[in-house]
Amino acid sequence: MDLRERGRLVGRALALGGALAALTVVALVVSGETLRFASEKVFAVAALVFGFSLLGWSGSVFAGEGIEHFQQHIGGRADWSEADSRRAIVVLGSVGLGGMVGASLATVALGSVA
């Protein structure tokens, strides 16, 4: 995958995460939760996704062999390619990071309106 394509993929994932998070914050506030609560929970969920992808990225590079053998042991087929897996992780991480930014921006925006 060339750089531009990769950039576009990341951009789309970031935007998706940001939009999702912002919408959720707004939806929570509209449904009667406090802004602080909405902001904190949505940010935390996005951070969870982001942290997860970080682990996945380092894991796919790092504990790959061990996990593969372990999975064979518990009866799965490990047949993933490094490149595809990293792309997936990047998408996941971007959604998470986008979500963190989106939640923050939505909080600031809602805070200035209120």
Partner: protein
Amino acid sequence: MSTQTETETEDIGDRGVIERVRASPFLSQLLSNRLALAGLTIIFFMVAIGLYARLFIDLQSVTQTQIGTNPNVAPPSWWGQKEGQIVTDYGTWAYPFGTDIQSRDIFTRVLYGAWLAIKFGTITVGASTILGVGLGILAAYYGDITDNVIMRTMDVLLSFPSLLLALALVAIFGTGLWKVVIALTLVYTPRFARVVRGAALKVLEDEYIEATEALGAKDPRVIVRHILPNCLAPITVQSTLNFGLAIIDIAALSFLGFGSEAGTPEWGLMLANGVEQGLLTGDWWWSFFPGLFLAITVLGFNLLGDGMRDALDPRMRETVD
């Protein structure tokens, strides 16, 4: 034209049936495996105990303190007596597993524990099976980025030590048996997703799915008619093996104080009480019997699951056990 398509699909569907019939050696294999049969017997026995306990033992009566009816912390009545024990039924079968510090009969509590273990084990395994099957089939069927995002997430979850992950999740959800069930469901889902995805991919590789798709069968139909039946065997094996694990882990979290409420006749909690209050005084029966039932139940599931794995894949019998 549409009728012809219908029969065509029907024909192709028959191959799925044949596949299923071919699975019958699986059954005969399984039944000829003595260890698996032993496992099956144990499970049957425990389920029977559980049902009996659910129907005939009053939860109230095993939860409450029973001061006055039995001696305080007494060893099994056939075993002997403790110093200072107010002997009532010594030498009888009145309380074959002894009593705990609240004078509760450990025997009936252990029996009721079988019901709780089977019940919450079933819910945990059932829920993670459904989740895992859904995710696994989605991943296999749509492939590409969907597959990768789902499976990498599952891999990360899988690389966490299961008990520590469950502890972390319990920290989010809070304590209680139901919360423990939710946490463990999430912990086990990746295993099912992995197995199911693998099996589904194998089915998808076969031409006949392609043929069915070319004939215009819609996604859900392909999944329900072809992928799911062919994944049943590995799913069953995984569920059985996981059942033992679920029972151990539920009890472990209860043991650590995150599961059942005080007084519940749940094996993990009974063990916790036995260790906390009975270990240093040498009151062995307190932790011995709940643990014995727990270990036997888990062994039953492991024996059966192991035998199933063999019957499923004869090659594995020699290489993986």
